[in-house]
Amino acid sequence: MSYVHRVSPTWYKKPMIPNYISLSFGQVASAGSLIFLSGLLGLYLRLKITKSIYIAGLRTAFQLFGMGFLLQWIFKTQSLVLVLAMMVAMTGVAAWTSTERSARPFPGIFFNSVLGIGLSSWVLLTFASTLIFRISTWSDPQYVIPLLGMILGNSLNGISLAVERFTEELFSKRDQVEADLCLGATSWEAARPSFITAIRTGTLPIINSMTVAGVVSLPGMMTGQLLAGVNPLEAVKYQIVIMFLIATSTLLGTLIVALLGYRKLFNSWHQFEYWKVGQKS
């Protein structure tokens, strides 16, 4: 495998893996020409998407390079404070993203999702780093940051689907919820059908991914490892572990957010506080 030697700035560390094709900045820029051409095509067909494509393309480049520098810095310093700050920030952004576009928010929805996403992903991360990867220092950024990122990024989806579906079910089926209450159901008995639907909706994507993994799709992380020259069986082992972590974290997270949502929307008098749905904090 040829390795083109270039003069690199001192902050740029060359990869160590022998089978690995390192990309120069020029090579990345040539992929950028694709985005440039896509924009031109949009302009030519008058699709009104050129601006969005360019902005999104620039964001991808800037955000990822930003992240790259940040990670390189954190990997080098190995500072516990930096690693923690990074992890907290990632969790916060994930929680915010999962609720900001909610069609039916309710007071406390952000706090719920911080707790749901944070607790589930950190628990699974701890499990993975101590019992599976058994890394010597738990805060080793090379492991914990990518692991947390993958767990967060993937369980986030399921968790936000679950919150959304739970409030939507309760609100749109308010007649049924109240009819059950009127027939003597406790608030939990009345909320349970919506709760179950929410959990099923939230976990469906990851269950689907697990079902087709390796048959229809080659999951992203595994693909990355293969490109980096890792032996396929090794890459597969990592992928399996990751998917199990994501699945468990998604289930745990959806359960937490739906339970917290239930506690927020029903009171001790077994009343459905439907007027809270749609209110922001």
Partner: protein, 219 residues
């Protein structure tokens, strides 16, 4: 004799122009009473029944059941005795029989058992054929659903029914049987009573032992 239900100085959470729709309202309901609530739409008749069923929080006031104030954990039990039926009937997925059976799984109903004899009796009384039991509940007409929702309540043997315009969507040829069924139900045990919202004068005369008329403000 202690009334079944007593409401003292009740004010509702729901307001209109900053004033509670129901304000410092008091009344009581005796055994065997058939109380009819009348008055224009939007004066708070439904809100009153929903508040009595504890679906809406009380802003002020007290509700007594056989002279006793209720604590939050007694609410499901209370609702199994004092049942509110919304104007829009709401049955869940599945057949009518599924609907009838699933409510017996509620903790507050655990001492009761699904009794198909009782169900068939009610179907007959309300002029509905047995075949309704196997129909998909979501596909019923509004009037049929209304009657079946009532039967679902009756088989749980409540002592008070709070009915919110129950005949609004029922075909006229079924209304007589419906009214008679309910009056018979009140008579068939000493401890029963009824509150019924209606807009129809004739129905009010046929059904009521007492009428509360709501004007723009409280009666």
């Amino acid at each position: 004799m202690t009334p079944i239900l007593e409401v003292r100085n009740l004010s509702s959470r729901i307001e209109r122009q900053g004033i509670p729709l129901i304000r410092s309202f008091s009344f009581s309901l005796q055994r065997q009473e058939r109380l009819v609530l009348t008055g224009p739409s939007g004066v708070g008749k439904s809100v009153l029944l929903r508040t009595i069923a504890f679906l809406e929080p009380l802003k002020e006031g007290e509700i007594y059941f056989y002279g006793k104030k209720l604590s939050p954990n007694e609410i499901p039990q209370f609702r199994s005795q004092v049942m509110y039926l919304a104007q829009k009937p709401s049955l869940s997925e599945g057949t009518v029989e599924d609907n009838f059976k699933r409510v017996f799984a509620f903790k507050s109903q655990k001492e009761k058992k699904y009794n198909s004899e009782l169900v068939l009796g009610f179907l007959k009384q309300f002029n509905l054929s047995e075949s309704f039991l196997n129909q998909q509940a979501k596909l019923l007409s509004g009037g049929e659903a209304q009657i079946l929702a009532l039967i679902r309540a009756l088989i749980l043997e409540p002592s008070v029914l709070l009915l919110d315009e129950p005949t609004a969507s029922i075909d006229s040829f079924r209304i007589t049987a419906f009214e008679k069924g309910i009056v018979d139900w009140v008579h068939s045990s000493q401890d029963r009573a009824l509150i019924w919202i209606t807009h129809q004068k004739e129905q009010e005369h046929r059904l009521s032992t007492r009428v509360l008329h709501f004007e723009g403000t409280n009666p």
